[in-house]
Amino acid sequence: MNPLDRYESLVDDVDAFRAACDRPLPSVVRTNRIAATPARVREAFDEAGVAYEPVDWHDGLFRLPDGNPGGNWPYVHGWTHGQEEVSVLPALALDPQPGERVWDACAAPGSKTTQIADAMDDEGTVVANDNNLGRLSALRHNAERLGITNSIVTNQDARNFSTKPLAFDEFDRALVDAPCSCEGTCRKNPDVLDQWTLDHVHAVAGIQKGVLARAVQATRPGGVVVYSTCTFAPEENEAVLDHVLASEDCELVEFDLPLETDPGVTEWDGETYDESVTRTKRVYPHRNDTGGFFCAKLRVGGESDESGDAVDREVAA
C-alpha cells in the first residue's frame, strides 16, 4: 500500500497533492549568515557561473537547478548549507535570540542546529543532542564547516535527557525535530513510501511523545517548544501534541510561517484531538511546491521569570 492513499481525505485537491509528491525536488542551499550575506553568496555564484534561483519567501535560500550544492566556493567557505526548503520552517517558528539557551533534542545531522546558531548570531548556547553517535559525527562536521562556536554536542536519549553536563538546568527554547515516518521527503527519497508501515508509525509515536514531554519539562516557564516532523500521519503529529497537552503544563500558540499552510486536524481514524491542535500547521507539497512538513509551537506554562532574560544574562566566558 502507498501510505499517501491514507491522507487523501485530508487534502482539498487530491490530484494536485499526488502529482506534487511524484515530482522530484531541486537542490536548495541556505545562506550561513555567520559567514556571508545572501548578497555575497549571489555575487560568488554569479562570478563562478553557478545557476541559482531565489526562493520568494526566504531571502537566504537558493534553488540550484543544476544540483551539486557542494561543488562551488561558497560551499567550501561555509557560506552555504544544503537544506530542503521546508526544513528551515521549525527554526523560524522557534525564533531563537542571541544569548539564549536553546536545546535541539534530535539534532543530527545538524541542519536546524546550524540554522539556530546562525539566528542566535553564534551567541548564547545551543545544545545539539542526538542518540545516534554516527549521525552526531555528521552534525559535528557540519557545525565546524559553518564555523559555529556556540554549540555543545551531547549524545543522550532525549526522552530522559539530563542537563547535568550543562552550566544550567533550563532552556529558553527547545526544538523537537522528531524521528518520523518521513513521507514528506518522498520527493527526495521515494524509498520512504516502500518502507512505510503502520507498526513503525505507532512505535515512533511513542518516542515522539517521550521526547516532546521531556522538552517541555526542560524548558523554563514561558519558554517556547517547537515540534516538527516530515510526516503527514496525524498519529505522529496532532496525536502527539494532544497527548503532551494533557500530560504537561503547556499550550499550543498561534504563529506565522512565510508560506501557505493548512491547519492541524482534530479528527483522525476514530480519534478526536484537543481543539487547539488547529493552531498547528501542515505543509502539503502541492501548496508551495515543497516537501511535506508539520510544525507546532508550544508555550510552556507557569510564570515567566523576566529577570532571567537571556539578554542580561552574563555568559561565562
Binding site: 562570478e47 566556493w73 561555509g78 545551543v126 555543545i152
Partner: protein
C-alpha cells in the same frame, strides 16, 4: 595515610583525553603538564597572524585529547563531559602550533601577517588538497593562511604549510573539493 590522600599527593592532575578541560588563564595557573594557557593561545594568534587578542575576548578555550584546543562561545561547566564544545581551533603540544582550517576560515580574514594570496588556479589546486611550488613567497616558513579573491574580497581557504618553495595543502580529506577554476 589513606589511599585517597596518597594518590592526591602523588598524582599531579593529568590531561584526560576523554573530557574537556578549560585552559588555564596564564602559564602560572597551569596545573596540567604541557597544557597551553589562554594567554599563550592569544599571544600565538597575535604573533603568527596579527589577529588581535580582542577578537577572542568573549570566547573560552578548552582542551580535549592531547593538544587539541577548542574555541567556545557559550556557557559551559568545568570539566564538561560532552561530545563537543564549540569547534576545533588549534593544535598545541607540538613544536609548531597549527591552526585548524575551520578556525582559519572563521577568523582568518582578520589576519594581516603570514597570509598567502592564491590566484584562481592555485586556489583550486589548494582546495583539492594538492601541494604546489610557489617560489615567489618571501615571507615566513611554516603554517600560513591561504586566501583567494571571491567577488572582489579576499577569503581564507584554509591552512597551508610552506617549506622549501612549496605550499603544502593541509586541507583535511573530508573537506577537499574538486572545484572549477574561477577567473
Amino acid at each position: 595515610m589513606s589511599d585517597d590522600a596518597r594518590s592526591a599527593e602523588v598524582d599531579a592532575p593529568t590531561n584526560d583525553g576523554q573530557q574537556f578541560d578549560r585552559l588555564p588563564a596564564t602559564p602560572a595557573d597551569r596545573e596540567v603538564e604541557g597544557r597551553a594557557s589562554r594567554e599563550e593561545v592569544l599571544d600565538w594568534w597575535e604573533e603568527r597572524f596579527e589577529i588581535g587578542r580582542e577578537v577572542f575576548a568573549e570566547y573560552s578555550f578548552w582542551e580535549k585529547g592531547a593538544g587539541k584546543v577548542w574555541i567556545f562561545n557559550g556557557e559551559a561547566t568545568d570539566p564538561s563531559e560532552v561530545e563537543a564544545v564549540g569547534m576545533t581551533f588549534l593544535r598545541t603540544r607540538q613544536e609548531h602550533w597549527k591552526p585548524t582550517g575551520r578556525a582559519v576560515s572563521r577568523f582568518g580574514a582578520r589576519a594581516t601577517k603570514n597570509v598567502i594570496e592564491l590566484d584562481p588556479e592555485q586556489a583550486a589546486t589548494f582546495a583539492a588538497g594538492d601541494d604546489q611550488d610557489i617560489p615567489e613567497w618571501d615571507g615566513d616558513w611554516g603554517y600560513l593562511i591561504a586566501t583567494h579573491e571571491v567577488a572582489g574580497e579576499s577569503v581564507p581557504i584554509g591552512v597551508g604549510l610552506y617549506l622549501y618553495d612549496e605550499l603544502r595543502s593541509v586541507v583535511p580529506k573530508g573537506s577537499r573539493a574538486d572545484l572549477p577554476v574561477v577567473e
